[in-house]
């Protein structure tokens, strides 16, 4: 099969669970699980065994938005006049070099595993909406204060949940098979078996417990490129790792779920015998940040004091008086000549002509 010259093409990398469908793969989209209004819907594909994959885009030679300012200052990346990264694609056929193509865009797409539970959490906290990710760490993060809690059905079967999601959340939920929904519901819902049927009730505690398990997994495999200071005490270093792991979930969960997670303490809430004290880790981190800020201010004051050492205390405060220099006026006494009787005495002597 050769590439049709009249169509546009895109490069898509698929995992083996999807790659066997060489005919066609259906892509559908759901609202972003974080309920962040600035984020686009997630594009999903269904693989074998009901496993879901997210279709993501990537382009090299482009700064990520978190480092955009520093990269701009370092002159690390350059863009075209229409702000596109300087990247294009050549497609070469090793067997026949004349059968080659050029694609202007350097963007490619790839499918990555996707956990639908995040979308169910997003539905549970559907009233917790923020404009941008930075709003998570700004202002109040007290639990249960991030938007009015949404009304939730007491207990529903997986089929009823499926209908509810299609009717009241997004019609695209119809693309999710019932078995897939059921397996993800059981992650965050209390199952109640009655009359041979299983009913599910999503609870805030189960959501927090599930997210803590995610945090523990991330903690064990934290990315190497995250900036981690080397000279921190052990306790603070561990707290910072927990904070970073929790914050990595910001891009996937609503603010209300994040707030509950940040304030989780095993001493106050008993959730499935979890021992990870996230609340304490955040407190340790914030106290360190505060003491760092205070010590920086103290250093600044000490530096100012060192700069003014040797000067009297009052001299620094009293404004300097302006010294007005008075220029000495030479008053020449002009003597009227040629009028008095002794004028001859002051007259210049005439040089004798020889």
């Amino acid at each position: 099969m050769t590439v049709d010259k009249t169509t546009l093409s895109s490069i898509v990398a698929l995992p083996s669970a999807l790659a066997k469908y060489e005919q066609h793969i259906t892509v559908f989209s759901l609202p972003h699980p974080s309920n962040t209004s600035s984020k686009q819907r997630v594009r999903l594909m269904l693989g074998s065994n009901g496993q879901l994959f997210e279709l993501r885009s990537h382009v090299f030679s482009k700064s990520c938005k978190y480092n955009a300012k520093s990269d701009l200052a370092d002159d690390k990346y350059h863009y075209t006049t229409d702000d596109q990264p300087i990247k294009s694609v050549f497609l070469t056929n090793k067997e026949d070099r004349s059968d080659s193509y050029v694609i202007e865009s350097g963007c490619f797409q790839f499918a990555a595993k996707y956990d639908l539970t995040f979308n169910l959490i997003g539905y549970y906290h559907r009233n917790s909406i923020v404009a941008e990710e930075r709003d998570y760490t700004r202002g109040t993060t007290e639990p249960q204060t991030c938007g009015q809690p949404a009304a939730h059905p007491p207990c529903l079967t997986a089929r009823d949940y499926h209908d509810l999601l299609v009717d009241s959340h997004d019609p695209a939920w119809s693309g999710v098979p019932l078995e897939t929904l059921q397996s993800h519901l059981s992650n965050i819902a209390e199952p109640i078996e009655e009359a041979g049927e299983i009913f599910y009730k999503i609870t805030s505690n189960k959501i927090t417990a599930y997210l803590i398990l995610k945090v523990q997994k991330i903690l064990a495999r934290l990315p190497k490129s995250l900036p981690m200071p080397n000279n921190l005490p052990q306790e603070l270093s561990e707290a910072l790792k927990v904070v970073m792991s929790v914050n990595l979930l910001i891009s996937l969960i609503p603010k209300a779920a994040y707030s509950n997670l940040v304030h989780f303490s095993p001493e106050q809430q008993s959730v499935d015998s979890i021992q990870l004290n996230i609340s304490k880790a955040f407190d340790t981190y914030h106290n360190h940040q505060k003491s760092k800020l205070i010590s920086e201010k103290e250093q600044e004051l000490q530096l100012n004091a060192a700069m003014t050492v040797g000067l009297s205390v009052n001299s620094a405060k009293q404004p300097k008086k302006k010294v007005v220099k008075k220029s000495a006026i030479n008053k020449k006494v002009n003597v009227a000549s040629g009028k008095g009787s002794i004028d001859g005495f002051f007259k210049k002597s005439k040089q004798s002509k020889i």
């Binding site: 169509t7 490069i11 060489e22 990537h58 030679s61 294009s88 050549f90 202007e104 797409q109 595993k113």
Partner: protein, 138 residues
């Protein structure tokens, strides 16, 4: 299904479509190639790099997404009549279908000679992203 190699080159080519430019150009300098017999083991920190030239300028590249169980395809995303397909992005709002039209045997990302550090840094960060995404969604 025809197999292609995708080269992500560090320059912008304002063209989409077929070309015969690569019959005598853009050959790999350090591989057993049909046309060029020159062998050169370009490497950086033990990483074997692929070396090619565009208009006399040396570029170095490294393969990615080759050993993670991924299989790459060239897919049809739309016709040229529709402007939406210009970015190569598959439509977000409506249900759409990916239709593979060719296989991509390998993908190589390139940077200009002297910029290898950025090449390796970008590929490493991309791999770290895949790893952490796998941890979160497993």
């Amino acid at each position: 299904m025809t197999e292609y190699t995708a080269h992500f080159i560090p320059c912008k080519v304002r063209y989409n479509g077929a070309t015969e430019e690569f019959v005598d150009n853009f050959h790999c300098d350090n591989e057993d190639d049909l046309t060029l017999k020159r062998k050169e083991d370009d490497s950086l920190n033990g990483e074997k790099l692929c070396v090619r030239h565009i208009r006399g300028r040396k570029i170095v590249g490294k393969k990615f997404l080759g050993s993670d169980g991924y299989q790459t395809f060239l897919v049809k995303t739309g016709t040229r009549e529709g402007e939406d397909g210009e970015t190569g992005q598959i439509s977000l709002d409506t249900t759409s279908k990916i239709e593979p039209i060719a296989k991509i045997s390998s993908m190589i990302n390139y940077e200009r000679d002297g910029n290898e550090e950025r090449l390796l840094e970008e590929l490493e960060k991309f791999q770290q992203f895949l790893d952490v995404s796998d941890v979160i969604h497993s």
